[in-house]
């Protein structure tokens, strides 16, 4: 199996409402897949099922060939291979930037303080924030916080990174730096799934665009196909709405 992420027959219900109604899709190594779709279509839920923050009702998610739903799977061991970046950053406010990055290195990977800090500094350097290592989240701008959050996930050397609207909570002038970091990641060969409304970024960085509506994938293809020549009427409406 060459796919790094493979989602098979994924369903998710909250109570009696079915939010995900059979999702199949896979992401190859080093691919950047963009997920777009109207609000409430289940994009976040789908992404959160990919590291079991949300428990799927049915279906399977394979990461690097390992079935996340299987009984014997150590989900904590898998999660450190799956980086996740949230809309609200979710940095730990009582820890410095470096503390945020090193916590899992120390507690999950069991690294000593010095080694963890060396890795942490390197990760912060990758997102251009080495000199902010000693700052608390409250002392950082939103864009800087989000980059620290990316470093926190990166430091664990994940196989794949999931982004849920990483720039939606940012002031427009801070978006660029975060997208810049994501572009660097892509160039370094990271596999990424990005839920986002940054269509310009989608157009020139994504390998593939997935369009979701009502808990299903209605269409997928290259940016040129989806933006230039969408087949599904819902996609056409959505893309048309955006470019207006």
């Amino acid at each position: 199996m060459s796919a790094l992420l493979d989602v098979r027959g994924l369903r998710k219900s909250f109570g009696t409402t079915e939010i995900l109604r059979g999702i199949d899709f896979s992401v190859a190594a080093q691919e950047l897949v963009f997920v777009i779709g109207p609000s409430g279509s289940g994009k976040s839920t789908m992404l959160r099922c990919c590291n079991r923050l949300e428990e799927p009702t049915a279906g399977h998610v394979f990461v690097d060939g390992v079935d996340l739903m299987a009984k014997g799977t150590d989900i904590n061991a898998m999660r450190r291979r799956i980086g996740m970046v949230f809309q609200a950053f979710n940095l730990y406010p009582h820890m410095t930037a470096l503390g945020n990055v090193t916590l899992a290195l120390r507690k999950v990977l069991g690294k000593g303080r010095e080694e963890a800090e060396a890795i942490g500094i390197a990760a912060l350097d990758r997102v251009g924030l080495k000199e902010k290592a000693g700052n608390y989240p409250s002392e950082l701008s939103g864009g800087q916080q989000q980059r620290v959050a990316i470093a926190r996930a990166l430091s664990l050397e994940p196989k794949i990174m999931l982004f849920d609207e990483p720039t939606s909570a940012l002031d427009p002038e801070l978006v660029g730096a975060v997208l810049g970091v994501m572009r660097d990641l892509k160039e370094a060969g990271m596999t990424m799934v990005v839920v986002s409304h940054e269509m310009r970024f989608a157009r020139d960085a994504a390998d593939r665009i997935v369009f979701m509506a009502d808990g299903q994938i209605l269409e997928q293809g290259s940016p040129a196909e989806i933006f230039g020549n969408p087949q599904n009427p819902r996609t056409r409406d959505f893309v048309g709405e955006l470019s207006r």
Partner: protein, 221 residues
């Protein structure tokens, strides 16, 4: 006025009673050193139980908290010290006080910790779990530090209450500060030792009460 000074602020009598009062104060400190950590520890257990995903455990902790917050601590202490011997369970005054305070303080501290834990957003749990931390690691390293900071003024206020409440140990003849002062009073037929004890409480607790106000102010309560 003279009678008042003689009866309440008699320095000679205070001087005489001082050694006894000092040893009482030491016992009170000892009691606090046992009872506060016990209460905090129990409170953490209670808070953890009350947010558990197992409904039975949540209900059990809720019943526990309601019960021991409703029972007057003095009644609890007397039942444990004087009532349990009828059931064949006998213990020292110190032991009885520790048990009573554990039950009482843990339910109050527990509610405070629970409020603190609930004040920490779901995003914190999710971020931590997404990096592979276990539930317990997340609770311990991410949630509890923020939770306790958020409810620090309440924790300190409750600790002041616990310290004051240690004086009920006097009813089971544990020679803490109030018991010692009252002994001195009954020997000297003079209230000054009690006043002295009150002053000692004040000296210790007043700065703490000030601290609570400052904390509340800083956290914008």
């Amino acid at each position: 006025m003279e009678i008042f000074l003689f009866q309440f602020l008699n320095l000679d009598i205070m001087r005489q009673a001082w050694p006894l009062i000092l040893s009482g104060a030491q016992m009170t400190v000892l009691l606090c050193l046992a009872v506060i950590p016990l209460g905090l520890f129990g409170g953490l257990l209670v808070a953890t139980g009350s947010i558990s995903q197992w409904r039975a455990l949540r209900w059990a902790t809720k019943a526990y908290v309601d019960f021991f917050r409703a029972v007057p601590p003095l009644v609890l202490l007397i039942v444990i010290y004087s009532g349990l011997p009828f059931a064949g369970i006998r213990m020292s005054p110190f032991m009885a006080v520790c048990i009573a305070f554990f039950l009482n303080a843990s339910s109050f501290y527990g509610e405070i910790f629970r409020a603190g834990v609930e004040s920490v957003g779901r995003g914190q749990w999710e971020a931590a779990r997404s990096t592979g931390l276990t539930w317990l690691q997340t609770y311990r390293f991410v949630v509890l530090p923020q939770a306790s900071r958020n409810v620090l003024p309440d924790l300190v206020s409750n600790t002041v209450e616990v310290i004051k409440l240690t004086s009920i140990a006097s009813v089971v003849s544990f020679t803490e500060l109030l018991y010692a002062a009252d002994m001195a009073r009954s020997v000297t037929y003079n209230t000054s030792p009690i006043v002295l004890a009150a002053v000692l409480y004040l000296i210790v607790l007043w700065p703490v009460v000030r601290l609570v106000s400052r904390l509340e102010h800083r956290l914008g309560h």
